[in-house]
Amino acid sequence: MTQSADTAPQAGSPLPQFPMRRTCPFSEPPEYAGMRADHPVSRAALKVNGKPAWLVTRHEHVRQVLGDSRVSSDLKRPGYPHQFHIPEEMLAQVRLMMLNMDPPEHSAQRRMLIPEFTARRVREMRPRIQQIVDEHVDAMLAAGGPVDLVTALALPVPSLVICELLGVPYEDHARFEEWSAAMMNHDLSPAEYGAAVQALDMYLDELVTRKENEPGDDLISRFLEKNRAERVADHADVVTMARLMLVGGHETTANMIALGVLALLRHPEQTAELRADPALLPNAIEELLRVFSISDSGTARVAVEDIEVGGVTIRAGEGILALNNAADHDESVFPDPGTLDIHRKEARSHLAFGYGIHQCIGANLARVELETVYGTLLRRVPGLRLAVAPDELRFKDDAMVYGVYELPVTW
């Protein structure tokens, strides 16, 4: 059976709105299960502008779309499913981040960054990451509970790690954390969003200029050095690359740290197993990444040619959201998908880091950060518990990347 946009099941009735929200903080949006079963590739209207886009919900189809060279990540292409309101004139001036580039530009930039994030390089960062985590846990224990785990640990750890890797002075973290949190907010006006991007870019522009003149032992300086030989990026591209690494490097990991701790607090038996046998942690982390899939709609694409997905024809120029949170709850891959199971054999098949050429370049770094933080808390703060009633927690339902705003804990 082949359908086009005109004959999709919802034709005639109003399209469902996207994004859809979670009603339970620990589950996927409730609409997803029905979509996976009945119309796994179907249209929705984007809340931001009412335009239609295809939602892809099954694991197999999400991988297919994200692995297809006939889809583009270029947000300037007509039909790209924007989730922020960006005025046309502003869009024309946007400098594309790597995650919005297509090959060959994308491949050229990514190739320069891959050596920074290999399994070996990330392994070498472990001792320093452990030191950073220990210092923050020391401070937390010295201060005494209750503390907000987000500000005490979840945010500063990845923030420090990415600052040291990039060569960004950590003293400036309060400024860029504010700008970067603003850039993740769906509900921001174009002017507010633009102002946050501009402020961060002005800051990074100065930093990149400093490194052009006085290179250091850091990712930005190494990128600049390689770029002198290969010339894949101009100054503004380097600033944009630095912004992507800085924002992508801490906001996502910070959210995942806090959500993961919260999930472990809700599952004391599994937490006890992890404490007894830390070798179980890596798989538990894959499972936590899967159940939350915090960057559900980060995988937006637009078809460049007509493609067929699950019997549906997506026409050239139509927008696609390959929903990794829906894919990661696909019961044909993950039986009983709503249940957290640290022993789940197939946990690593999740698409929380995306799939295809744009898969998160920092995934292995994120894994080590999560392992270090969870492992250290299990070992050093065995009595950790929530300091508020669970229903008092506020979740980031309005943000591009899901998370919890505060996590008051004590021990």
């Binding site: 692995g67 190739r111 891959i114 994030f117 290999t118 399994a119 070996r120 098949s349 050429i357």
Partner: protein, 63 residues
Amino acid sequence: MRVTTERDRCVGSGQCALLSPEVFDQDDEGLVVVLVEQPAEAQREEVLRAADLCPARTIRVHD
């Protein structure tokens, strides 16, 4: 069992090197290197897993 890869299409995720470190590695550029072209039968499961999880689908396993 024989393993081949397309280095040109590798995106450096390092999944293969993590899942099957005796068979795969990453070179100085972070791209895939096959250490053992004909892995032992005992490694079949992890090699197939690495091939399945490769985000760029560059790993081929031939019987």
